[in-house]
């Protein structure tokens, strides 16, 4: 009953620590005999014969150690990765091939514009394509990731309001927002006003109107929001904000649900950022780098970061002479290699392909939603967009919590979904399958989840003790956070 893994087999024993391996005197190579007197000139107190606890191993042992560790990695190339809010879609390898073309990968970042016309053309066209997809007038590619995009967008808003001699001090953020929204607002010197969503998981215009005043610089909204629900009041909300002289910022983190279907620019959005490493299929999850281009409506163009790429007489030039610009936000042109991958992705899918990708993302999420809704309680009954959020309320009756369900999924060979986020949902399980998974995988995942729901009812202790088949069992997360041991040290004698 307990061993059951249709997915990847995680039943591998944990390799011993490298410090626990080897034998004194063993080595992967041998130093030549010391010759000459050089060593004597180094003061003896600075020389040491031994590093306490330093592992001593042969070459093959080292190779096996790290190869075994690498097999413990979980990757989209090996299994389904339904982390809600993260858009862990597959990144087609053709993007990697294109990014490695020597014409892109061997460019010197300080090369003069006349020698990098091809690269500038790519950036110029990517700006135009992202502007078209998002419905914005202009795009800057500089920000290095989503959060820096948020900061850049807010700096643009601040520069614009200052120019109008109307600097304001507050930003409205709904309670479903990514934590980066209030963080970016605070970093940009704004005070955050939080508003709560309705019992249908949406922001309501009336709620915005309650807190909207002449001191509010902008409202930051994510659409679809982190509950995977489309904020259908967005136009009405934008009107409320605009009427009082504020701007509307869209966190484009969930643009994967909208490509080719709807444009934020048409919804009253003035500024947005796009996470290329999510929607536009550039790698993420391995430490990046990401890319967080920012799009603006035409009245904000002059505040965009410099340098800007302009087309002049058929060639591309870099211009820094924009007096109102917020300045540079990133060295060179942003994370260029990532921008090349996003360009390749957009070109290879085309406009129809992008739309189909978004539609498949919506279909996959709703498919899982339907398959799981009997066994798990939905946080909100609304149809979902690209992700769906469940709670552990039905399982709580048997003393089983979200964390237990997540741990048990490991025994079934699946990476758990995002848990305990968004914060407005108690015991949230946030599932985002993305468009790159086929029906067989979705069915296998749903079977695993449904089977865990049955186990929670019939054998709650089994779920509460999971995982059993991973290299290490249930970790004491509270103790790890309270008393972290961050470094191996030799045992004291």
């Amino acid at each position: 009953m307990s061993e059951h893994s249709p997915g990847t087999d995680l039943r591998r024993s944990a390799p011993p620590l490298i410090f626990e391996s080897g034998s004194p005197g063993r080595s992967g190579f041998f130093w030549p005999e010391e010759k000459g007197e050089g060593g004597e000139k180094i003061p003896s107190e600075l020389l040491r014969d031994d590093i306490p606890g330093f592992p001593e191993l042969g070459e093959l042992e080292v190779l096996r150690h790290f190869t075994r560790l690498s097999h413990l990695n979980y990757a989209i190339e090996s299994q389904f990765y339904p982390l809600g809010s993260c858009t862990m879609k597959y990144n087609p390898k053709v993007n990697e091939v294109v990014a490695r073309l020597p014409g892109f990968s061997s460019l010197h970042p300080l090369a003069p514009p006349e020698l990098i016309q091809g690269a500038l053309e790519l950036l110029y066209e990517l700006e135009e394509m992202l502007a078209e997809i998002s419905g914005m007038a202009h795009v800057t590619l500089q920000p290095a990731a989503g959060a820096q995009g948020e900061l850049t967008g807010l700096m643009v808003i601040r520069a614009c309001l200052r120019e109008r001699s109307n600097p304001r001090r507050k930003i409205i953020v709904p309670d479903t927002a990514h934590g980066t929204n209030p963080a970016s607002s605070t970093l940009c010197g704004y005070e955050v006003v939080q508003i709560s969503s309705s019992n249908r998981g949406m922001v309501e215009a009336a709620k915005v109107a309650e807190v909207m005043d002449e001191e509010v610089a902008a409202l930051m909204l994510t659409n679809p929001n982190t509950l995977g629900i489309f904020e259908k009041n967005i136009q009405e909300i934008a009107e409320v904000v605009h009427k009082k002289g504020g701007l509307v910022y869209l966190d484009g983190a969930n643009l994967n649900a909208l490509m080719g279907i709807a444009k934020p620019g048409d919804m009253g959005v003035d500024v947005l950022h796009i996470n290329l490493h999510k929607t536009f299929s550039t790698p993420h999850g391995g430490g990046g780098p990401g890319a967080g281009p920012v799009g603006v409506k035409s009245f904000l163009r002059d505040f965009l970061p410099v340098p800007r790429i302009l087309k002049k007489d058929g060639s591309f030039v870099l211009r820094e002479d924009f007096a109102k610009s917020v300045g540079r936000v990133r060295s060179f042109f942003g994370n260029f290699g990532i921008l090349v991958r996003a360009y390749a992705y957009i070109i290879s899918l085309g406009s129809d392909g992008l739309e189909e990708a978004s539609r498949m993302a919506l279909l996959n999420a709703n498919y899982l939603r339907k398959k799981l809704e009997g066994a798990y309680q939905l946080a909100y009954p609304e149809p979902c967009m690209h992700e769906c959020v469940f709670t552990d309320r039905l399982q709580q009756r048997h003393g089983v919590a979200t964390l237990d369900i997540a741990k048990r999924l490991l025994d079934y060979g699946f990476h758990p979904p995002t848990i305990y986020f968004p914060l407005v949902v108690s015991g949230a399980l946030m599932i985002e399958p993305t468009e790159t998974e086929n029906r067989e995988i979705l069915d296998a995942f749903a079977d695993a989840m449904n089977s865990i729901a049955r186990e929670a009812k019939e054998h709650p202790d089994l779920v509460k003790g999971a995982p059993y088949t991973t290299p290490v069992g249930r970790l004491d997360e509270a103790r790890a956070a309270r008393k972290p041991v961050l470094r191996w040290e030799p045992a004291k004698e």
């Binding site: 309680q377 009954p381 309270r482």
Partner: protein, 141 residues
């Protein structure tokens, strides 16, 4: 669930024990249970001023980081300095050894709109019932 008599409570699930001009502040048993294992506490320093309804610190559990809101305005006169080393005290004894700070109140009127133990117990039950209500309507579908 315990609701000690004599304490005052907020909707954000903080409690206050008043001794003359000084308010001892902590988080309630309900808050501690909802949060789960507390792993880190961020508190102001002695001498800092806190403002009613504004966050004055944060508790971090394995699930999330939550702000702690000031039930009253005043100046911090003492901080529970055992918490950084043993944040689990908040889970073990939320109404006793798990207290957070002591504040010299600027205005005792701040206490007026806080809830009594009885009112707070009702408030918590109501919140739980709302959750259960949603659950039942879901079951009917």
């Amino acid at each position: 669930m315990e609701y000690p008599e004599g304490l005052k409570f907020t909707k954000e699930h903080e409690w206050v024990l008043v001794e003359d001009q000084v308010a001892i502040i902590g988080i309630t048993e309900y808050a501690e249970q909802e949060l789960g294992d507390v792993v880190y506490v961020e508190l102001p320093e002695v001498g800092e001023k806190i403002v009613k309804d504004d966050p004055f610190g944060a508790v971090e559990s394995v699930k999330a980081v939550s702000d702690i809101y000031a039930p009253v305005s005043g100046t911090v006169v003492e901080v529970n300095d055992t918490l950084p080393d043993s944040p689990e005290t908040i889970n073990d004894d939320p109404y006793g050894d798990g207290w957070l700070i002591k504040v010299e109140m600027t205005d005792k009127d701040d206490l007026k709109d806080l809830m009594s133990a009885e009112e707070y117990a009702e408030y918590v039950e109501q919140q739980k019932a709302e959750e259960d209500g949603e659950e039942e309507s879901e079951d009917e579908e």
